[in-house]
């Protein structure tokens, strides 16, 4: 199962410290893991939410660091794609996977798959025994839709102002964090539904 999906910055942000990342969208699937473990029984719901937000921030920071190290190592120049060039931006995107050890920050070991498209990162945190090939494909698909539907290559802030579209997209392609084996026909059918939603 996928535990969470995030969209966050992987470039320096002036208002933040050097290694930090601004989370633009985050969706955690399933119940709060603190509720069911013995570890955080004494927390109230407000503290639990705070803890969850902090965990997401940790993941974003770790991925940010991984992205910048990977880009530094490959020495590739970041291309600036403009709206309309979503497919190209996706093709040029860096990708990788970060191993999140048990406890740092989730109670069990997780794998954080990431796609770095220019200044933003798209991250999928899933359980390590998950089918990572399928997860990779799903992440690419999600990213493509986000880039296109929310015009993310431009200067707008639709990712913040239209987050309900991402929610709808996730509810079809990644329902409750479940990765789906979709051949092109099934995918087309779901994407038609998503497009119908976006058109409203």
């Amino acid at each position: 199962m996928v535990r969470c999906f995030l969209i966050h910055t992987v470039c320096p942000v002036s208002a933040l410290g050097p290694g930090e990342s601004r989370v633009l969208y985050s969706r955690v699937f399933g119940p709060d893991e603190g509720v069911l473990s013995d570890q955080h029984q004494e927390l109230n719901p407000e503290e639990r939410r705070l803890l969850q937000k902090e965990k997401i921030a940790v993941v974003a920071r770790q991925v940010r660091s991984a992205v910048s190290l990977s880009r530094e190592a490959s020495g590739r120049l970041l291309m600036e794609a403009v709206p309309g060039e979503e497919a190209l931006a996706l093709q040029e995107a860096d990708s990788g996977v970060v191993r999140l050890r048990a406890g740092d920050p989730f109670s069990e070991e997780m794998s954080a798959l990431w796609l770095g498209v220019q200044s933003l990162g798209f991250t999928l945190v899933c359980e390590p025994h998950e089918n990572l090939l399928l997860a990779e494909g799903t992440l690419r698909n999600l990213t493509r839709h986000c880039l296109e539907q929310l015009h993310m290559l431009g200067q707008g802030s639709e990712v913040l102002l239209r987050s309900n579209r991402i929610d709808a997209l996730l509810s079809r392609l990644l329902p409750h964090g479940q990765l789906l084996f979709l051949n092109h026909r099934f995918a087309q059918s779901l994407e038609k539904e998503v497009a119908a939603y976006m058109a409203k």
Partner: protein
């Protein structure tokens, strides 16, 4: 992509004033009271979501607003469902309004409302109730209603299974297993959605049901799977997709479901059933007689075999080809899982897996599919007496050597190793010799995989390969540079005017240096510890010292060296440790010249040299010749200050009869003379202009070492005392050429005076300078004088009631 606009939006959302916020809430409540859905409503809800999610501190909504939002969850307009669910997830449920997870209507919820429920579940009991309701709804909606509204049921059940498997009862498992069998194996084989075989003209004739097709366009001849296509899909075909998507997880976890008493019964039952199954599974036609869980295993087996066969077809679309690969991975994993549960299936499965391996092993683009196959061989190969050599050759040979730059493969390969360490050590003897290949993964993408190597390295340290491993670790940056050159060499044309990295690339391609690089690129250990012309190699790669990948790699080496040394002392005998000390001394000047790298390595060496000698003091006498050679070279004072200091220290500390009976007076004297010569040299002449002064610590360590040696061989005391008094005289005259800092000079002189006064009482000097072990590590209970009071005290404490 990320603009100032976004940044300021977030700032605004966080800093919104309370009065403005309350006004906003009021407006929103009014909007929601209206009957119509307007753009303003949606925009306002979206704004509310941004305000709530932009901060990590929770804001509470006014009860009126919250109630209205709750009612929106069941709105017919999906946007309102989505937004209200998103908003409510960012805030806390109203106190006193907690959801009753056992109510009937829960089974009827839409996906977004269900998501809210899941995220707000406060306990296992909540999840259990939710689970109950969902399964009840699955059961009752046998053939009515659109299954689309059912499709979120399986993912939610899978989520509950992930977080809290005990929420499902044995009955639930049976029910769901039966349903999964139906959807997986008996879904329609005709296209759904009113598909017609005709084009524009639709008449009664063309309304005959069209069969589903395979990915290469041919008509499908067998049951429906995720790799089948059609113009439209029926509900049970959708459920087929959802079922397969959760199948592996279900098979892995359903036996951890417990239900109090019935677990004991099911254990007994399955033992009996097991023997029945092993007879029955040979003839799959009688599978109807199997209990639900076993029947599901059988159907899963058939589904996976079909997927494997379907993956051989040439799909028309690229996304479908990718899906075929993912399906292969999943199918092999599921087959592995069912074989673990029911060993008799292994004989039926192995031919299929072997054939798949044969089909894909030569195609590196299927490398990621090979890993689950390797897991299958590891788990069942021995039992089925199948030869596994070719699998390991691929996994430990070709993959790291040729696909080191595929991060996902590296991640999965290392995970495979981590998860199966015990098995690999038993069944794959070449594992411990494969480190030159495995380390290529680290040399390429160090930050991403160093964590895995921290876990794996101890298993690669063996007495037989320790020396070679140490050399390999020290030359990891060279390996990194070589891999870069290897890739460049295949990509770039033979002559590139004015290109970067020209010298090293030329060297890489030149036949006279080929051997050096080939040694680094070797695939297994055992050919030799290292090469003679290491310094040549380092010179050739000098320009690589600022390549980012090489620098990142160099930063991981110290950590790995620490792990190496910590592990090697558990497996090495004294002879090997002596050899390692020699390697350290030798390699301290043979390292790729990356800024800070050499210094870091020296620091690691110093730390472990000290540890090794502390553990086995006789090593110092054993290796005294080499250590003296090192300590006697004045140049080392300047170029390898850290190691030099420690070598001098261990010589002073452990070159004594009490550490090793082979230590003679002659040895002590020759050591003394060597150190004395160096000390004279560095404290007499000024360093050449531009060079640094010797570090004060070196001077004091030399003085202390000389004093210690003299305290063991009293003839030497006058020589030391003479030097120390001369030192005092010289420094009284003011500053000296070999020490620039006044404070340091004072420290050196003070030390000198202390040592001088100590040596005036030779008998005492030895015990003060090198205290015997019973002083430094007292074990008072063994001392005849102190033991008695201790024993009495202990007995008193025990016998007196508290």
């Amino acid at each position: 992509m990320y603009s100032h606009g976004s940044e300021s939006l977030i700032k605004q959302a966080r800093e919104i004033q309370d009065s403005e916020l309350q006004k906003f809430y009021g407006r929103l409540v009014k909007l929601l009271q209206g009957k119509e859905l307007s753009h303003e409503t949606v925009d306002s809800l979206q704004r509310l979501h941004l305000i709530l999610s932009a901060t990590k501190y929770t804001r509470t909504l006014p009860p009126e607003l919250q109630k209205r939002l709750l009612s929106l969850l069941s709105s017919p307009v999906e946007q309102l469902q989505v937004l209200s669910s998103a908003v409510l997830r960012e805030t806390l449920p109203l106190s006193g309004q907690e959801v009753n997870y056992s109510q009937e209507s829960i089974g009827q919820l839409n996906s977004h409302a269900a998501a809210l429920l899941l995220s707000q579940a406060g306990s296992r009991a909540d999840l259990s109730s939710l689970c109950n309701q969902l399964l009840r709804s699955l059961e009752s909606r046998q053939s009515e209603g659109p299954a689309h509204s059912l499709t979120h049921t399986l993912p939610i059940l899978n989520t509950i299974l992930t977080h809290s498997p005990e929420c499902l009862t044995e009955d639930h498992v049976t029910l769901l297993s039966k349903k999964l069998v139906d959807w997986l194996r008996y879904a329609s084989i005709t296209q759904g959605g009113g598909a017609s075989s005709g084009g524009f003209f639709t008449g009664p004739r063309s309304r005959q049901p069209v069969p589903i097709a395979e990915l290469d366009g041919t008509v499908s001849g067998d049951f429906f799977t995720v790799l089948c296509v059609g113009q439209g899909f029926t509900d049970d075909q959708w459920m087929n997709v959802y079922s397969f998507s959760m199948l592996r997880h279900w098979l892995l976890t359903y036996h951890s479901v417990c239900n109090g008493n019935t677990t004991a019964d099911t254990d007994d039952r399955s033992e009996v059933d097991g023997s029945v199954v092993s007879m029955v599974s040979a003839t799959s036609s009688s599978s109807r007689l199997l209990p639900p869980k076993e029947r599901l295993r059988e159907k899963a087996f058939q589904y996976c075999q079909r997927l494997i066969e379907q993956s051989d077809r040439k799909a028309h679309k690229r996304t479908d080809t990718d899906l075929q690969k993912a399906c292969l991975v999943e199918a092999v994993c599921i087959l592995d899982c069912v074989c673990v549960e029911d060993i008799s299936l292994v004989y039926r499965t192995f031919p299929c897996i072997k054939a798949l391996f044969g089909r894909l092993s030569s195609d590196l683009s299927f490398a990621r599919v090979m890993l689950p196959i390797a897991q299958f061989y590891l788990n069942h190969g021995e039992m089925a007496a199948v030869e596994c050599e070719s699998v390991w050759k691929l996994v430990f040979g070709r993959f790291p050597a040729e696909l080191f730059n595929d991060h996902f493969l590296a991640h999965e390969l290392l995970r495979f190793l981590r998860m199966n360490l015990e098995s690999l050590r038993l069944r794959v003897p070449q594992y411990t010799h494969s480190f030159p290949n495995l380390l290529k993964l680290l040399a390429w993408e160090s930050p991403a995989v160093v964590d895995d190597f921290v876990d794996l390295l101890p298993s690669l340290v063996t007495a037989g390969t320790a020396v070679e491993l140490l050399h390999t670790l020290l030359d990891l940056p060279c390996l990194s540079a070589t891999l870069i050159l290897q890739l460049r060499s295949t990509c770039l044309p033979i002559s590139e005017p004015g290109g970067r990295g020209l010298l090293s690339l030329d060297a890489f391609r030149s036949p006279s240096f080929r051997g050096l690089f080939l040694f680094l690129l070797r695939t297994e250990a055992g050919a030799g510890d290292t090469i003679d012309r290491l310094s040549t190699l380092h010179e050739l790669l000098a320009e690589a010292a600022d390549w980012p990948r090489v620098v990142q790699c160099a930063q991981t080496v110290p950590v790995l060296l620490h792990i190496f040394f910590n592990t090697v002392i558990t497996v090495a005998d004294e002879k090997l440790l002596a050899h390692l000390i020699l390697v350290m001394l030798e390699r301290s000047s043979l390292l790729l010249n990356i800024p800070k790298y050499i210094k870091e390595i020296h620091r690691v060496f110093s730390c472990h040299l000290l540890r090794l000698c502390k553990l086995h003091p006789s090593l110092v006498v054993d290796q005294s010749h080499e250590l003296l050679e090192f300590a006697g070279a004045t140049a080392n004072v300047y170029s390898k200050e850290e190691i030099y200091t420690h070598v001098v220290w261990v010589l002073g500390e452990y070159l004594s009869v009490s550490c090793d009976s082979r230590c003679s007076v002659r040895l002590i004297t020759s050591c003394f003379e060597a150190l004395e010569a160096v000390l004279f040299e560095i404290t007499s002449s000024a360093p050449t202009p531009g060079a640094v002064c010797p570090a004060p610590r070196v001077v004091t360590t030399l003085m202390s070492a000389l004093a210690k040696l003299a305290s063991r061989s009293h003839d030497l005391i006058p020589r030391v005392s003479l030097f120390l008094s001369k030192l005092r005289t010289v420094t009284r005259g003011g500053s000296v050429t070999w020490c620039s800092d006044e404070e340091d000079l004072v420290a050196i002189v003070t030390r000198g005076e202390e040592l001088w006064s100590l040596l005036k009482a030779p008998g005492v000097a030895q015990s003060v300078l090198t205290p015997p072990p019973h002083v430094t590590t007292p074990q008072w209970h063994q001392d005849t004088n102190v033991a008695m009071p201790l024993r009495l005290r202990a007995l008193t404490n025990l016998t007196h009631s508290q």
